[in-house]
Symmetry: C2
Subunit: 138 residues, 2 copies
């Protein structure tokens, strides 16, 4: 998670969210939220990391890969993660409003995906990064 | 919808799904499913069209835009559409398994988005394109 946090801290104008994807203990993709920087609603850290991982592996099947992300993924990213075949997701902060893996298990009726999800990893650190960002823009 | 159908027919190895986005009666983005062609699980017709529309308008707010797509969008694309601020979605074929706008209204608990959705537009034509594709690969 420390690598995902380091990614989050690279955000300049965006909500600080970072993501890395590992395979066999090695980082194969790393990205941070670029929604505002790129003026692109799809440029979430997870989507950018998924695309990089696909490029790195030259495959759209991210078997035996683990995602570390500082905030619980939204529905768009969650569905992309499920489709990618990623094995496990470890996230930091819970997103009670839009988190779609644990906080709002909206996909339970659509899929019995074997994706394993672990929330609250380094939660205090991840929460603090978000809190400081929102305090700074107020 | 005929422009979206024309896009769908451009798919070579992919499930034929096409999408256009219009503003003030003009097409500002057109794309077809490139999931297999690009080896990218995010390369759905809708995501590619959204990105093109953002580029065309130089804005991530697709206000007063309408999307025409030959198949009901999946959860990833549906959430992206909701986030984009698109006004209306017109889709052709229903997707009972994974369609997330009408068939499985999974976002009802998350958002009271003002997005208007109309399903079954040119449904027979859109169904036929999909049926012929799946027959051909069997």
């Amino acid at each position: 998670m420390k690598d995902a946090i380091e990614q989050a801290l690279r955000c300049k104008i965006d909500v600080p969210i970072g993501c890395v994807i590992k395979k066999d203990g090695k980082i194969i993709a790393a990205a941070h939220n670029r929604r505002e920087a790129d003026n692109d609603i799809t440029a979430h850290a997870e989507i950018l990391a998924l695309k990089e991982a696909q490029n790195t592996l030259n495959s759209s099947r991210l078997k035996d890969c683990e995602m570390y992300v500082t905030l619980e993924p939204c529905p768009m990213c969650s569905w992309a993660v499920i489709q990618s075949g990623i094995t496990s997701v470890y996230f930091g902060s819970y997103n009670p409003q839009y988190g779609a893996l644990i906080s709002n298990p909206i996909f339970k009726s659509l899929t019995n995906s074997p994706l394993k999800v672990y929330g609250g990893i380094e939660e205090d650190k991840c929460n603090k990064i978000l809190e400081e960002f929102f305090k700074s823009i107020r």
